[in-house]
Amino acid sequence: MTKIAWRSIWRSKLRSSVVIFAIASGLLGGLFSSAWMNGMAMQRVNNTFAFEIGHVQLHNPGFSENTDVKKTILDTRKKILSLSNTDGIKAATERIRLSGMAATANKNMGVNIVGVEPDTEKKVFELYQRIDSASGGFFENDKKNAIVISKALAKELNAKLKSKIVLTFQDFNGEITGAAFKVVGIYKTDNSPWDKLHVFVKNEDLRRVCEVPADQSHEIVLLLDDYEQAAFMAQELQGQYPDVKIEDWAEISPYLSLMSGYMDTMMGLFMVIILGALGFGIVNTMLMVVLERTRELGMLMAIGMTKKRIFIMIMLETIFLALIGAFIGEILSMLSIAHFGTVGIDLSSVAEGMEAVGYGAITYPMLEGYRYIQITILVILTGILASVYPALKALKLHPAEAIRST
C-alpha cells in the first residue's frame, strides 16, 4: 500500500511537482517572513536589554511612582557586591536618574540624565559599543563633567564633540541646580526617539552637583545569564531585598512582553493562512487523483482491498506529497534564513522610519529550531486533514460502476 501510494505520486510528475512547489514555496514564504519578523522583534528586544533597561531593575519603591530624586536605594555598594556574586547574575551596575534640561547656545531640550559608573555600566550595557571611533568614547578618561549624548540629540542641539552642554535639574534638596558638561562621546542606537531623550554622565560628577549621598543611587540594573529567568530572579531577589522594588524586563517594559506574544500570534496566523491555502490546494489535487483513478479504485475494491486500506492509501499519498514539499520548503527556508541571518537584510533606504519606531536598518532573520519541527508536524496534520475529503469520496465509489468508468 505504501509502495502504491509512493509510486502513484509520480504518475503525473507535472501535477505532483506543482503541488510540491506550492507547498515548498508557501513554506518558504511563511517561514522566511516569520523569521524576518522574529528577527526584527528579537533585535528590538535585545537592543532594549543592551542599551535601555537590562534584565532586572531595583528601585526605591517610591522612585518608581514619581521619580522623586530623594527616593534612593541605600547601601548600593554592598548590594552591588552581593548581587554580582549571585548565581545567574552576570553583572550589576548602579545609576542615578534625573530629569532635566539640556541646553546649548542654540537650543534646549528635556532629557533623562543617567549617572553611571563607567566600569560596571560597560559590563551591563553595550551603549559604549555604539560610539564609533570618530565620535569619542564612553568616559575613557578621568575628565570631570564629561557627557555622552546621542547623535540625534547632538543634531537637535547643534552640538558636537567637545561642545559644552548645560544640564539643569533638581538636586537632592529639591533646589534647581545645573552644571556645564563637555561632550566626550556621541552614541547612536537603532531607537532614535529614545536616543534623543537620554544623556549619560558619570555618577561622581552628578553626586557632586546634585548632592546625592555616596552609597545611594536611584537604580540598580542587573544583567542575567538568561533573560528568560528574569521574572524568577526578580521574585527570588525580592525576598532578599524587601526594602527595594524589583522588577523584571517585562514589568519595566510591558511593550516588549507584548511584542514577544504578538510575534508568536502573528507567526501562528501566518502559518494558519499558508497551511489553509495549502490544504485547499491538496484537496483539489487529490480530488483530481481520485477522479482520474476511479476505475483503478473500483478494481481494488473488487479484488478485495478494504475501504480502510483505500482510505489509508489516499491519505498516504497526500502525506507523502505534503512531506516532500515540506522538506524542500524547510531546506530552502533554512538556507535563506541562515544566509540573511548572517548578512542581514539592508533597509537603509527607510532607515529613518525604522529607527523612529525603534528598529535597526539592517535586520537579521532568525527562527528557533523547534519552529521547523512545529511546521513539519503542522504540514503533516494539514496533509492528513486535506486527504480526508478526497479519501471519503473514493470510499463512496461503487466498484461495479467504477470499473465500467472510462
Binding site: K3, R7, E296, I303, G304, M305, H398
Partner: protein, 228 residues
Amino acid sequence: MSIHVNKLTKTYHETEIPVHAVNGIDLSFEKGEFAAIVGPSGCGKTTLMNMIGGLDVPTSGNVVVDGSVMSELSSNKLIDFRLRNIGFVFQAYNLIPVLSAKENVEFIMQLQNWNKKEMENRTLALLESVGLGEKINSKPNQLSGGQQQRVAVARALASKPKFILADEPTANLDSIATNQLLEIMEKLNREENMTFIFATHDQRVMDKAKRVITLDDGKVISDVLKNQ
C-alpha cells in the same frame, strides 16, 4: 464449491420506465466448470456477473456461494469474501499501473497477509504458468494487451479463489493473444479443476466453453452443456 443463482433480478430506475437488466435468473455452477454467459450487448451479462461476484446488489433473489448468501454479507465481509473466494479478470486488464507484473500478482496475496517467501514462490510459479516468467519486473505499460491480461489471470489465481469471473477477457485482444489466453485458462481448468465463468460475445471463447448460457433481455434463453 457450488454457486446457486436464485430468481435473481436487477432493475434500474434511471428513467421513468424500469429496466430489468436481469430478470428472474436461476442458475447453478459446480466446481470445475468452464462456462460462458453469452448474448447481445445489453442482455444483462455483466450485471449478472457483477451480482455473482458480489460487486452489485440484486433487486431481488440471491446468489449463494458454498452456503453463503452474498447479499446478506456486510460490506466488509463481502470485500473479504471476494478477496478469499473470487478471482476477477476484467475486460480492460485493470492492473495497477505503478506496480510490476510480479508486484501486481503479489498485491492480492499481501492483502491476505501471506508469508513473504511463499508469496514470492507462488507469484513466480503463476507468472511462469501464464508464460511471463521473463517479464516479472515489467510494468503494465511495458507489456502487450495479451501479456497484461495473462498477468490479470495470474493475479486472479493468486489468492487461490474458488472460482474466476472473467468479464469479456478477450475483447481487447487479437486472435493470437486470445488463443494463448484461452489455452492458459483451459489448462488451469483441466489440470487444477479451476472454475471459470466468462461473460463474452467472443465466438472463440464460446467455442472453448464446456457450457454456454445464452441471455436475452435479462433472461436465460438457453443453457447448453457441450459434450467434450
